[in-house]
């Protein structure tokens, strides 16, 4: 078999673990602030420093955020939530253990919908979502002789989202992480900033010959800090594993890291050296019970979800898939559209405005929709102005819209009126202008009637001049032809 085809013999199997840092104000088990960007070791107290005698205090917000995400994924919510200790020594883990969940994860089951490599919708199963706390940060590159420890992050609440091994390509993994990020942002549980480390991803990757029923030996590549690096690391790891197998070697279960500069994964810890985390129930915390009423409350307060909006736009509003995707990419953008269509029934025009003039304006200034000056009601009024034929689409886009941005308090109607941009659609007035024009050039009328149809432009121009540009071109055209072709 030629070299370039060996990769086609294999099927890729990927499962992802995503750690999402929650946007709670205080830490998971203490009242310390979680504010990002504070000077090192400022968001700490004896609790997050792990001082002798301190005990964890559970932050109920963590639970609420976890239920939110679980409901959005269609997961089963666990009634009795126990906490467990995961024991390991590391310099940025002050207690020597992490408080997490072991046998009773908050959420089990559920799914995330993504696009597969052929653009078809695909379901990626969720194994579990559980609550835990973050460790501190080890800083290796600031001091030439020492590693420095910053414990601001120690104890910040996390949700760990574990997927089933349903992912079949690096691109699917990319799409999955993109969807998860979109979802946590919609739910406002995590800011999704992978570069700042508030969302991190570990990839379990294996390959097997197509048609094989058994899974290949897997490796875990840890701490991927951008969606692109998820893609790159998996692409590299798949190629590496196939190359190994094709060379007659076997894959060993191990933990690997990703070198983003070289674009390669590197072995960090073999199976033999793997930690024995000695999980056991956390004796310092009582189990937390989730009542049906808690779930109902979270459900009621759940914001619209990207997939729900996408389906609504495609099926109910009959927008194109592309339009629906662009509109739902960002939550605030989608919410603006949601609000906009409360004021207009012309969904397609509303979508066009959002994706055209509005988006260009935002892109030009590199701002978000939150800073967009025009209220949805006004934009809807502008759409109505076009729909009523009061201004042309071109005038609305190129003249009224910029003016509206300058004076967002004014109504589009008033702007058009003050600037004489209202089209003359009054037939009587128009007929007056038309008669005037025809009377002015009787010889040209004659020529037209003899077949010189190009003269229509001359009459149009005359009418426009007489009406100071306010004549509705479409209507003028119609009326002119009617008069000339009697």
């Amino acid at each position: 078999m030629p070299e370039e085809n060996k990769y086609d013999k294999y099927e890729v199997v990927v499962g992802l673990e995503i750690h999402a840092q929650l946007q709670t104000k205080s830490k998971a088990y203490s009242s310390d602030s979680t504010e990002y960007g504070k000077a090192p070791n400022n968001n700490v107290s004896p609790v997050s420093l792990g001082h002798p005698g301190t005990l964890p205090m559970f932050n109920k917000k963590t639970l609420e955020y976890g239920i939110r995400l679980g409901l959005a994924c269609g997961s089963e919510i666990t009634y009795e939530n126990q906490f467990a200790r995961k024991n390991y020594f590391y310099a940025d883990l002050p207690k020597g253990y992490q408080i997490t969940q072991d046998t009773t994860p908050l959420c089990t089951g559920g799914e995330i919908l993504i696009k597969d490599d052929s653009g078809q919708e695909k379901r990626i199963g969720i194994t579990r979502i559980h609550m835990e706390e973050d460790s501190g940060k080890s800083i290796h590159d600031l001091d030439p002789y020492n590693t420095l420890i910053d414990l601001n992050r120690a104890g910040v609440p996390l949700l760990e989202i574990v997927s089933e091994p349903d992912i079949r390509s690096a691109q699917e993994a990319y799409n999955y992480v993109t969807e998860v990020r979109k979802l946590v942002r919609y739910l406002e549980v995590c800011d999704g900033n992978m570069e700042e480390g508030s969302m991190r991803c570990d990839a379990n990757v294996s390959v097997r010959l197509k048609g094989s029923k058994t899974l290949g030996e897997r490796t875990e590549t840890k701490n991927l800090n951008s969606i692109r690096n998820v893609l790159r690391a998996i692409e590299y790891e798949v190629k590496r594993q196939i190359d190994e197998l094709e060379a007659g070697n076997s894959i060993s279960m191990e933990t690997r890291g990703f070198d983003a500069v070289k674009g390669i994964t590197i072995s960090q810890r073999s199976k033999e050296m793997a930690h024995d985390y000695r999980y056991f129930p956390e004796p310092d915390l009582q189990a937390v019970f989730v009542k049906e009423t808690d779930i109902e409350k979270v459900k009621r307060e759940l914001p619209p979800l990207p997939n729900e909006l996408l389906n609504k736009y495609i099926q109910d509003l009959e927008l194109s898939v592309y339009d629906a995707e662009v509109l739902t990419e960002d939550k605030q953008f989608a919410l603006y559209y949601e609000d906009l269509i409360k004021h207009t029934k012309n969904y397609k025009a509303a979508a066009n405005w959002m994706m055209g003039a509005v988006k260009s304006y935002l892109n030009e200034l590199a701002i978000g929709i939150e800073e967009f000056p025009i209220k949805t009601k006004q934009l809807a009024d502008l759409i109505k102005l076009v729909d009523d034929g009061a201004v042309s689409n071109t005038v609305a886009n190129q003249k009224v819209f910029p003016k509206l941005i300058e004076s967002p308090k004014m109504s589009p109607q008033k702007i058009a009126e003050e600037n004489n941009w209202i089209q003359q659609s009054d037939t009587n007035a128009l007929e007056g202008f038309i008669d005037e024009a025809l009377n002015k050039f009787p010889d040209k009328v004659e020529e037209y009637r003899n077949g010189k149809k190009g003269l229509l432009g001359l009459f149009m121009g005359e009418v426009m001049k007489a009406s100071k540009g306010a004549a509705d071109p479409k209507l003028t055209n119609q009326l002119l032809r009617k008069k000339l072709e009697v």
């Binding site: 792990g50 005698g53 964890p56 024991n87 310099a91 020597g96 024995d276 000695r278 056991f280 310092d284």
Partner: protein, 475 residues
């Protein structure tokens, strides 16, 4: 001033009637502590803060605003945190450690105007039954200096027995308040698990540890308990139950149903004199009209193994934070992360602590979890059910506090198994979480004290204390 004649109630009376001042009280105890330095009871006297508190108490007495514990001079075990004060758990690894915050019990004692005089020696991280596992040396039993005071709250019990303070706070994980109380002729109370906040108690085994008083009278124990007990936002394992005014309800009324467990009294390891004294007490209770029944209990041989598997498992995790990185002892020979861990812990912990960390690590390891930790958890539930079913029928369970009286220094130090069996009668209360008290009832023929233990059902401290009053009064 003779501190041996100063009970809290007489001191308080004299203080409020302005016969003495708190500062005078403080100086009397300070002198006594200094004179008794050879007993090795106090690791540190908080001279500055105790004197300042005494002066404050005198001001409050004048103003008529003195708290419930004004006049009480109390010691705290060296595993209870007090802001701005050293706390070491009698370990080298925390030798120079100073706490940034105060335990809830400390705040509550101070809030009621107790004078915290100092911190007492104990077994390292509360692991031991003789107070010989302290980095700072053994404590001598003030009753007879050739004997141990018991442990792990050996210094706490000795501080009361030697009249170096009126009362002490100790901690009890498997008998660490009751056994030394019994060895020193003092009274020791282990409250229900979840009754007293553990915030600021250096953890040994989190699901067993409980702070409680060691003192001379039931009334003092009741008073201290009502001050330190009750919900606390810092400890989520606490009960929100209201705290009764124990000290105002000490009158025992009516006859009680008391059980004694066959295997306890008939245990092969029990000293003959201890057994006879116990049987005499049983007879006396019957004479007084109480019903006392012999009850079968077939889980005695499981108690100590359950206790040592679960407590060492929790300890192995609780003590992971002493790693030489963030606080406490760091070996001077450490040169990288791994050697910082290995050398700091090797040099910082004593042999008993290391033994328990290793045992605990082992029972939680992959492949062994189910046979040890998992099995012990199941047995813990069985013991809990069995004990609570007895306590559904009986008000109290009676037993000797320990199988024998105090033993000599160094007598058992090389035999950990024998030492572990010291806890045989006391661990049940911690496994189940129920309250238990050790009452001093005279002396054995060798002149060393004898203690009897009563256990009650969860949160029945009030009944336990009221009944204890009667037992002590009738001697």
């Amino acid at each position: 001033m003779d501190t041996s004649k100063l009970s809290f109630s007489s001191a308080r009376e004299n203080l409020l009637s302005k016969q003495i001042t708190a500062v005078e009280l403080y100086h009397a105890f300070l002198k006594k502590i200094k004179d008794s330095a050879d007993l090795n009871i106090f690791l540190e006297v908080f001279e500055e803060s105790a004197l300042a508190k005494a002066q404050e108490v005198d001001q409050k007495v004048k103003a008529g605003t003195a708290g419930k514990l004004a006049g009480m001079v109390i010691s705290i075990k060296d595993n209870i945190c007090y802001a701005g004060h050293s706390v070491s758990a009698s370990s080298r690894i925390l030798e120079k450690f100073e706490s940034l915050y105060s335990a809830t019990v400390v705040d509550r004692l101070l809030g009621e105007d107790a004078i915290i005089i100092g911190r007492t020696n104990c077994d390292e991280f509360a692991m031991g039954s003789s107070n010989e596992n302290s980095f700072f040396g053994a404590v001598k039993n003030p009753i007879d200096q050739e004997y141990v005071p018991g442990g792990s709250s050996g210094g706490a019990a000795a501080s009361v027995a030697a009249n170096l303070c009126m009362a002490a706070l100790g901690s009890d994980t498997g008998g660490s308040i009751r056994q030394p109380a019994s060895f020193t002729g003092t009274l020791g109370l282990k409250p229900t698990y979840g009754r007293v906040s553990r915030h600021g108690l250096i953890a040994y085994a989190s699901s067993f540890d409980q702070i409680g008083p060691i003192c001379k009278s039931v009334e003092e124990a009741a008073l201290i308990l009502e001050v330190i007990a009750g919900s606390d936002e810092y400890d989520s394992t606490l009960s929100n139950r209201e705290v009764p005014s124990y000290s105002k309800k000490l009158n025992q009324e009516g006859k009680k149903k008391i059980a004694y467990l066959d295997c306890y009294v008939e245990h092969e390891g029990i000293n003959a004199e201890v057994k006879n004294r116990t049987l005499e007490i049983i007879e006396k209770l019957k004479e007084d009209g109480h019903q006392v029944d012999r009850i079968e209990f077939d889980l005695l041989d499981q108690l100590v193994p359950i206790y040592y598997i679960l407590t060492t498992a929790e300890a192995s995790s609780n003590l992971a934070r002493y790693d030489g990185i963030h606080f406490g002892y760091r070996s001077e020979n450490a040169h990288d992360l791994k050697s910082t861990y290995v050398k700091s812990r090797t040099e910082g912990f004593g042999p008993e602590v290391k033994r328990r960390i290793m045992l605990g690590t082992y029972v939680l390891s992959a492949g062994y979890y189910d046979s040890y930790y998992g099995k012990a958890q199941k047995l813990r539930r069985m013991v809990r059910e069995k004990t609570r079913s007895i306590l559904a029928d009986y008000d109290f369970i009676l037993s000797p506090t320990t199988p024998h009286g105090a033993f000599k220094l160094e007598e058992q130090v090389d035999d950990p198994i024998k030492m572990y069996l010291e806890d045989i009668f006391t661990v049940q209360a911690n496994i189940v979480g129920i309250p238990a008290i050790s009452l001093p009832l005279g002396k054995l023929s060798n002149g060393l004290p004898f203690g009897i233990q009563f256990m009650a059902d969860l949160f029945k401290e009030q009944e336990l204390l009221a009944f204890s009053t009667e037992v002590v009064n009738k001697g």
